[in-house]
């Protein structure tokens, strides 16, 4: 493998993809275990799990698109849209669960008024909880998270495919790089976040630095691997 301008370009694409994933995780509204008891706002699962579930669904769409075209925009957009559909379907059904199964209106406890709809939040928060359900601001934030996660995963896949032309290897590597960045980002938010209106969102720069360095190192290694026979 010779290091030329193209290789450098692929490394940059992998790094940007990693950054998308790392930043995207901060947008995904997850309440962790308490959210599953309607005790905290957000989706009731772990950050990495939901981000990986949506981002990799996007990777499937991107892989499909990459098999018929090599237009980078289409591949990345396809991945982003696939991830957004998955996370949106999940959040809508999650809200069914909160509204019809548990009987609580969606409400955030981190802000007094929803920044998008300007609806007041605290009167709708039940006693002894820190919010529940997925209000509009979290929903939109989650959609953005899906967009970034899916786009990031697809960009990594696109770069690797151009190097080794092996869908299995590239797909698996994209999963590996995705997971490393998503876990680093989730350490940064300590497990739970409501979305871009959450005070924890201010920690993004730290994750940005960490994911930048991590993706760069992994990217340099990954581009050296050939696709074999």
């Amino acid at each position: 493998m010779i290091f030329d301008a193209n290789t450098a370009l692929y490394i940059i694409e992998i790094v940007i993809g990693g950054l998308f994933v790392g930043v995207g995780v901060h947008f995904v509204p997850v309440g962790g275990a308490p959210a599953a008891m309607a005790q905290a706002t957000g989706v009731g699962t772990g950050t990495v799990q939901l981000a990986a579930g949506s981002g990799l669904t996007g990777l499937l769409s991107a892989g499909m698109m990459m098999s018929v075209t090599d237009n980078i925009l289409l591949v990345v957009a396809s991945g982003a849209v696939g991830a957004m559909i998955m996370i949106d379907a999940t959040m809508v059904v999650g809200n069914w669960s909160y509204i019809y199964g548990v009987g609580v209106p969606p409400a955030s406890a981190k802000v007094d008024y929803d920044p998008i709809t300007k609806n007041p939040q605290p009167p709708y928060v039940s006693q002894g909880t820190v919010g529940h359900g997925i209000p509009t601001v979290c929903y939109v934030s989650g959609t953005i998270g899906g967009l970034l996660g899916g786009a990031g995963g697809s960009l990594i896949y696109y770069a690797l495919m151009n190097i080794n032309h092996n869908p299995g290897l590239s797909g698996m590597f994209a999963i590996g790089i995705f997971v490393v960045n998503a876990v680093l980002a989730s350490y940064n938010i300590q497990g739970t976040i409501e979305g871009f209106h959450d005070p924890k969102f201010k920690r993004v720069p730290r994750a940005f630095q960490a994911c930048l360095v991590a993706s760069l190192v992994i990217g340099i290694i990954a581009v050296l691997i050939t696709g074999g026979a």
Partner: protein, 302 residues
């Protein structure tokens, strides 16, 4: 768009719906994932119980494992022994169900043993009666997920995904686990575990761990929980996974990705916008119907 692709797409959507529903019931019968934190806490706050405690490392990785094991077994049987896809996938799902049973058994033993100081026993009859139920549901889930992956990759079918079948199954397994733990589990965690508290409120942090351990007669078992969650939590989880699989593939079926790639993406964006609008409508309706909590004593007007 041809009729065969449309039919396959419909089959995938249906399989995904069944898979989602059984995945949720499997995790409720075993008490997996986030609601299990309360089962875990129960013994610590003085409520030993006879509820299963299947802490298999989060639903997404565990379901990814079952799907991948089944897909690999099926792929080995098909490529190595020329077995027909239907039987190969069925046998693969059996192997995955055995893996599921082993992981479930050891997790139940491990978690309950690590709570010895709270007098939490390991009940062997719970293991005997529940593990088979859990395995049966896992079998259905895995069979459906691997069938979807087979439809997406088989060389004689119109949809040609470039990833090998086990990898596709792995990704769908991860996705179904993520969906199951984000949707149906809430019904189990917030409602069924805390049925003694009034409907219409989240769990007050002060009541954490105070799960219902008694049934109408005798002690509550996890099969009772599966019975309850099968009425709402399971089906909606199926809806979520069905919608994901169906909508994601629908846009690539009605338009040809090779020549109409832009339209494929555009359709997806329209779907996403509609989802956002629907969620907003649902939120306002819920707020209007339920109204603010009467106990609220702050300054902010509802």
């Amino acid at each position: 768009m041809d009729m065969v692709s449309m039919g396959l797409l419909a089959a995938m959507g249906a399989l995904a719906t069944v898979a989602g529903a059984s995945e949720d019931i499997e995790s409720d019968a075993g008490s997996q994932s986030n609601p299990n934190s309360q089962v875990q806490l129960a013994a610590q706050v003085g409520h030993p119980h006879r509820i299963y405690n299947k802490a298999i490392s989060g639903e997404p990785p565990s379901n990814a494992l079952y799907a991948a094991v089944a897909a690999v077994t099926a792929s080995v049987l098909m490529s190595g022994f020329g077995m027909s896809a239907f039987f190969a996938i069925a046998i693969g799902a059996v192997v995955a169900a055995i893996f599921n049973g082993i992981y479930a058994t050891t997790a139940y033993m491990g978690r309950n043993t690590s709570q010895a100081r709270f007098n939490q026993y390991v009940y062997l009859d719970v293991l005997r009666t529940h593990t088979t139920t859990i395995m049966a549901h896992a079998y259905i889930t895995v069979f459906c997920v691997v069938s979807i992956s087979y439809i997406m990759t088989a060389s004689w079918l119109p949809i040609q995904h470039p990833f090998p079948m086990p990898l596709v199954a792995f990704i769908w397994g991860l996705a179904i686990g993520a969906i199951g733990s984000s949707t149906g589990d809430i019904h189990y965690g917030a409602e069924r575990e805390f049925q003694s508290y009034p409907f219409g409120a989240g769990l007050n942090a002060a009541n954490s761990g105070d799960i219902v351990t008694k049934a109408e007669a005798g002690l509550r078992s996890s099969i009772d929980n599966a019975w309850f969650c099968a009425k709402f939590g399971g089906p909606i989880t199926g809806m979520a996974f069905g919608l994901t699989v169906f909508l994601d593939n629908w846009r690539a079926t009605i338009f040809d990705p090779a020549t109409q790639g832009g339209l494929v993406v555009l359709t997806g964006i329209v779907i996403v916008i509609l989802f956002n609008i629907y969620n907003r409508i649902m939120e306002s309706r819920a707020r209007k119907r339920y109204g603010p909590y009467p106990e609220y004593i702050g300054d902010i007007e509802a």
